[in-house]
Structure formats: structure tokens, C-alpha cells
Subunit: 441 residues, 2 copies
């Protein structure tokens, strides 16, 4: 029995249903999948493998799953902060998008995002943007796993100047990417119930269902959105989507900050999942989603960073810390969102929420070898009593030393193997100079 | 004109009253102080210096100031999380402290804390614990700047078995350290209004005033504390401290989560400062301090991490991100706690809150050369539009590459120069094995 790759000499956090931990343990990889894993027999010989990755006492775990991103928005990281929502959107983000979002800039922004995600332990993301072909090409170059949705909105958008073409563009994207590479799963990204007509919403969901694809949609993000929905439709955004029949399995509702008890019951009954983006919701002052209620209702909840214009990073370890602490202080209960639950939200529950629960999100025999290794020797991770506690409350993106996707080593000893960081930095810096000519002050 | 050290080729964020930024700029250091700083003349020669530190386009700024720590509690990092407050304290933290806190363990825990703080950009901390002589020795070894308070509590404590000796022990500490090294400023750490009698509280403040020392005290941290104070004294904890005459300048109130409008007016009138510890308050589900009201009242507010049993790290950059986002979502106002204010809270306002505003917290001629350099080339910091935005919303502890305290280089290219990390790790791991014999699962 020889493995292609063996990851050994670390604490294996499987995130399987029993949350088994092998300390020390190993993972054997063959043909891109987990072929074996378990505790190390202290008297036994090390299994043979073509490549051995020594975790040096660190944490070996499934790669993180970021359930909501707009990858090219790395280009706008820190361009405009601390502003009223309308000023931020209409005076900064929308003008920057309309002037500077092109196929070329989308590709470089997405490459930068992939580099940042891989280096901080994210192996799978769920993205929605426009010109999504360029995002897909960048993700494919990076070697990451992703669910990618071409944007559908009833306004002129980059690459889709005539909104009447939005469903066609989404269909073309699904067709082009459905069997291009096993790592990319095409999807539909419907912007929101307030930027799409009921006809567009129904057509987008029907298109997704026809292709067995994920239907992503922002919903109930702000109080203003909910007030407007009630004024226009007499219904909350979630109730409105329910009336249109859009809360079935295969729908990913992003944000749901203002979902009330009846909305939550509708989501649970329909089978839709939720992407929770705590830092973006905090930074835009949108509110705090009732995540403990989502979990109690049995809804599948994953974590997301949102785009870099409202976060401003793609570091899921940081998001885990925020989620664990935010729901404690919101509920007044220090036992809310414990470390194990948050680790699951950032891995297996996130994978389930975007339809990849059978493929990734945990280390189990037969699943994809999407694996990360975190060093545990930096001062902020000493001592180590419980690995799940450290992942949530102390670890940082830079503790990630090794990243494998489908068995391919994309980060080795902290260095990206599939992307040219210097070139990405050069290209994005040049784009940023055009976006804002006088930088650095 | 030759400098001892020149830090150049970076964006200088002075955090002076005008918040001047020199891009690119330099800082010249002589005899441990800032001797010159300003923009670089593109046609001019580089100033001469014995040592040149090339910031490589990164951010040059004052070292961060952590206004509330219990350094030795790194030993309990991740020992017990996600528990009801009483269980956490009485079944885990107090027993661990009574069994395992000795002069030797305090020293190693504090050394670990210093390594973590320096590597993440903190040059000054304000600590309160017991056996504070050992903390002071560790901090002196590390070469950091610190305000250190020997604990005063009306219970038996490590090193002070008879509570009747607590004021004497605090006085002895003040006398021993008042002129041992210019980097250490001794202080008094009175635990809280609910663990000290009115006589002890008055005596501790009188002792601090007599020595011109800071008087630190936890206050209004939890709702339960406030309810109990009202039941016992008919007053909120802040009003109770006010009645005892303890809210004058030189007092640092830690937490103030449950300070109401009248409490805030009392604090502002008295001249006391506040240490805000958002992550600890979130993790313990204590609540969210009304920081925007503190700032509006003109109170001096610094940031703190609290101890590692309730955070679980000492990374002030992370705390800055949390503070900026938390007060936006609390107030529903995305303009609350903007980046500049948060950078000031983590530097000059923190320094002012602990009585060191004339010494550190900003880069101005004549002030101590407490300087950090952050690299700005990691993917999560690209592109760079506004350095203050990046510091608050995107930077991580590991972006810190250089750290100087009073002109002495304590971190060079990310490596600690004054501490033996491997030995600290070995010692703390051995202590942790005694605290919890079966680790890693």
C-alpha cells in the first residue's frame, strides 16, 4: 500500500460526524482522494508514499469553505470605508465598478483573491460576480475548488449591457463550465429580490434547477431592504422568495440578517441554506444575523467573508473568531456558537450549504483530498489544549503552511505553488493606480 | 547629522494630532528618541545612519499600546472556552490559578506573552496580575515598555496569602520598580469594586496617587456585577467608585460595558480613562461597551486584549478590526469608529489612557522611538489605498516585520531579538502538561 502523498506528524481534525481527532495522526492520499487516515501507531512504520508532508506537530484538517465571495472586488479593498451605505455604494463602489471592471481587471482581481484564500487555508469558495468566465479562468489557474455563479440582475452589468440577456448569459456560463474541470461547479448568482423582477427571479431559479446548479441570492441583508419589501409586496424578502417558490434545496440565501422567526421557519421548511457573513454585516452596520436560531432550526449554515469592499479581507479563520464571539455577545450566552460548531460552519456545513457536502469539507475516506496544515508553534498558539479552540480563537491566516486541493499541493511551506504572486501584485497595483490615482495618503 | 538608526522607504503614519502621513517618508532615531521625521526628498540623499532599516514600501508607525492584559494567563490559552461564566471561572480558571501559578510559571507565561505581543506590533502594555515582580522581570528581559500593577484583592492571592498584606505588597512593588528601568512604570492593579472593600479601594488609590502611579480597576464588566452593586450599595459600580472619590485622573477603568449615560458623565467629569476590551467582552458574553458615547464625552479610550483565557490572543491588530466593526453594528451607523479613530485608540489614545501620552503612542520629535514596520506586500494588503484602513480592516499580526522600543530593535525581519522563542515554548509546554495532562483532543 503506497500513497501518492502522506500528510503525517500532526493532529488530524477530521470534522467527520463524530468530530474524531487523531493526535498524532496521518492522512494518506491516492488519486486526489483521502485513501486512509487514522492515529499513528507509535511502534508502527510510517506508511510509504511518493511525497511526505511533515506537519511538524501542527493541525491537519479539511480545507476551509468560504460560502460567499465576490472575488474581483479585491481591487477595491480599502478604497472606501466608514461611509454611509448609500454614499459608499453610489459614490464609490458602483462608479469604480462601471469604470474599471473589465475582463482583464476581473481576472487579476480574482487571481489576487485566490492567492489570499489559499494562503489563509481556504480551498473552496462560492463566488458570484459578473464576467464570471474570467473569474473561472483565474480559479482554474489557481487550482482551487469553487462554485461560481454568473450574475443575474435587471440592470446593465459588466459583460451584460442589456439586462434582457441576463438569463441567457447565465445559461451560457453554466453550459461552458459544466464539464470543463471537476474543480469548478457552475452556478447562478441572482443578485437580490430588490434588483430582479419576479420573472427574472423565477427564470434564474428554474435555470439553476434545470442544471442541478446552486441558486445564490442576497436576501434580508438590511433593515431598509426589509422595510421596502414589506412596502412593495406586503411581505418580508424571505416570505416574498417563498411565495415565488425559491426556498427549495439548492438555494443559498446570503446574509439573512433580518430574518425573523417566521422567515426562519420558511427557510427550514423549504430546505434552503444560509451563508453567514458576520464581518461584512458588521462593517456595513447591517445588523447581526440570528445564527443561533438558524442552527436550532436545523438550517445548513456556512460562513462567508463577502467581497473585499466590505470586510476587507478573505481570511476565514478571522471570520470564525468573529462568528464565535459575536453570537455569544448577541445572545448573552457564552456557550453559543462553540468552537466545534464554528469549525463545522467553516468546513463541512459550508460545503453542504453550497452543494459540495459529499465532495469536500471533512477528512473521510473517499472524499477529495482538500487538506490544510497549520503550524502550531507560533507564540499565539502556545500552549495547545484543544485544536478546535485554537482554530477559532487564536489561529491566523499565516499559520497555514500547506494547502492541498484534490491532492495537488497548492501551498508548500507557506509559499504558493500555482500562482505568481509578484506578477499578480504588479498587475493589481497598476489597476489600483487607475482606480485612485493618488494612493498612500 | 548622523542618526543611530534610520527607518526609511515606507509610508510613515505619524499618528500626531494632524494625523500626518509621509509617503514615502523616514524616521531618524538618536539616543532612543525620534530625532527627525518627514517626507523623503526624491532628489535628496538618504540621511546617514549607523543602522538603516528598509521598510520596503511598508507602513512605519508608532508601536501599538495594549491597555489591559494579564500576561501570565497565556498559560491558560484555550484551556476552557464556550462555558457559562461561573463554570469557567470556578471550575477551570480559579483552580488552575491556585494550583499552577508560581513565580516560575508567571515568568514563563509573561515571556510567552511578550514574544506574542512584540511579534504582532505591541510595544507597550498595561498589565495587572499577581507575583508582578516576575512579570516585570520578564518584560524587562524582553525590552518592552510597560505599566505594571501588582494585584490588590481582598482574597488570598498568589504571592499574597494574607489579604491584609495586599496594600503593603503593592507598595513594595511600586518602590522596587520605580527607578529600576525607564521602560517599566509600576502601578497599582485593584481587582474590582466587588472583590475589594471600600477601605481597600481607597487605600489602593491613595497609594497610587502618592506615587503618581496609575490606578487600574475592572469596573462595570457584567450586568450581574451592576445588579449586585445596585443591590448592595444602591449605586452602579461607577457611581460607587465616584462616591469613593476614585474617578480622578490617573484611574484606568477596564471594561465599562454597562456604564450608562450618568456613569459616562461621572467618568468624563472625574477625568478617569477607559480600557475597551471588545473581544473579551464578546467571548464572555458580557456585552458591548458604549464606546461611541465614551468618545463623544471626550473620555480617553484605549484598546486592550484582556488575558488569554478570555480572548484567546494578544493581537491588537485583530482587536482594532473587531472594535471598528462592532461599534458600527451596535450603533447601526457605518461611520462609527472610523479607521483613524481606531488607529488612535490603539496608539496615542491608549498611551494617554495609561499615563504615557507624552512618552509613546505617536511618532513626534523627542518622543521615544517605539516604532513598528508592517510589510504591505502580502495578498491581503494589496492594493493599498489608505494605510489606516489596512491597519484596521486587513492587516494581521504577522505583517509586522520590525519592532523597535526606545530605539532598540526587538524584532528584525519578523524574528525576535531579545527572547529565546524555542526555550519559552519548551517551558510553557511543560507547564501546560501539568495543567492539563491529556492534551490535543
Amino acid at each position: 500500500m503506497t500513497y501518492d502523498t502522506l500528510v503525517h506528524n500532526g493532529i488530524v481534525l477530521t470534522v467527520n460526524p463524530a468530530f474524531d481527532i487523531f493526535s498524532p495522526g496521518y492522512v494518506g492520499i491516492r488519486s486526489g482522494r483521502v485513501a486512509a487516515l487514522g492515529p499513528v501507531d507509535p511502534d508502527g512504520a510510517r506508511p510509504r508514499a511518493e511525497t511526505c508532508i511533515d506537519a511538524r506537530g501542527g493541525i491537519i484538517m479539511p480545507g476551509l469553505v468560504n460560502t460567499h465571495t465576490h472575488l474581483p472586488m479585491t481591487l477595491f479593498r480599502g478604497l472606501a470605508d466608514d461611509l454611509p451605505l448609500e454614499t459608499w455604494l453610489h459614490d464609490h463602489i458602483f462608479p469604480a465598478e462601471s469604470r474599471h471592471i473589465t475582463p482583464a481587471t476581473v481576472g487579476w482581481g480574482a487571481r489576487l483573491a485566490c492567492a489570499e484564500m489559499l494562503l489563509s487555508g481556504t480551498t473552496t469558495c462560492c463566488d458570484g460576480y459578473f464576467l464570471e468566465d474570467q473569474v473561472a479562468a483565474a480559479v482554474a489557474d489557481a487550482g482551487m475548488r469553487a462554485v461560481l455563479g454568473q450574475g443575474v440582475i435587471d440592470f446593465p452589468a459588466p459583460g451584460v449591457p442589456y439586462p434582457g440577456d441576463n438569463i441567457t448569459a447565465a445559461r451560457d456560463f453554466l453550459v461552458r463550465w459544466r464539464s470543463r474541470t471537476p474543480l469548478i461547479t457552475p452556478a447562478v448568482f441572482c443578485h437580490s429580490p430588490y434588483t430582479c423582477s419576479p420573472e427574472t427571479l423565477r427564470a434564474a431559479k428554474a435555470l439553476a434547477a434545470e442544471h442541478g446548479a446552486l441558486f445564490q441570492i442576497h436576501a434580508a441583508e438590511t433593515r431598509q431592504e426589509c422595510d421596502a419589501s414589506r412596502a412593495h409586496h406586503g411581505l418580508s424578502p424571505i416570505a416574498f422568495l417563498d411565495r415565488l417558490g425559491l426556498l427549495s434545496q439548492g438555494t443559498l440565501l446570503v446574509h439573512c440578517v433580518w430574518a425573523d422567526g417566521r422567515d426562519i421557519a420558511r427557510i427550514a421548511a423549504g430546505g434552503a441554506a444560509i451563508s453567514h457573513n458576520p464581518q461584512s454585516n458588521m462593517k456595513l452596520a447591517s445588523g447581526i444575523a440570528p445564527v443561533t436560531d438558524f442552527l436550532a432550526a436545523g438550517i445548513s449554515v456556512g460562513l462567508g467573508t463577502d467581497g473585499c469592499a466590505s470586510n476587507n479581507d478573505l481570511d476565514l479563520l478571522h471570520e470564525m473568531d468573529t462568528a464565535a464571539k459575536l453570537h455569544k455577545v448577541k445572545s448573552g450566552d457564552p456557550t453559543a456558537c462553540p468552537a466545534r460548531t464554528v469549525v463545522e460552519m467553516a468546513t463541512i456545513r459550508g460545503a453542504e450549504a453550497i452543494g459540495l457536502g459529499a465532495v469536500t469539507g471533512s477528512l473521510e475516506i473517499g472524499k477529495a483530498a482538500d487538506i490544510i496544515v497549520l503550524a502550531a508553534d507560533a507564540p499565539h498558539l502556545v500552549p495547545l489544549y484543544h485544536p478546535a479552540s485554537h482554530l477559532v480563537y487564536a489561529a491566523r491566516g499565516d499559520d497555514v503552511r500547506e494547502v492541498l486541493v484534490a491532492g495537488r499541493r497548492l501551498v508548500a511551506d507557506g509559499r504558493p505553488q500555482s500562482l505568481d504572486l509578484a506578477e499578480i501584485r504588479r498587475q493589481v497595483t497598476a489597476i489600483a493606480r487607475k482606480i485612485r490615482p493618488s494612493n498612500g495618503s
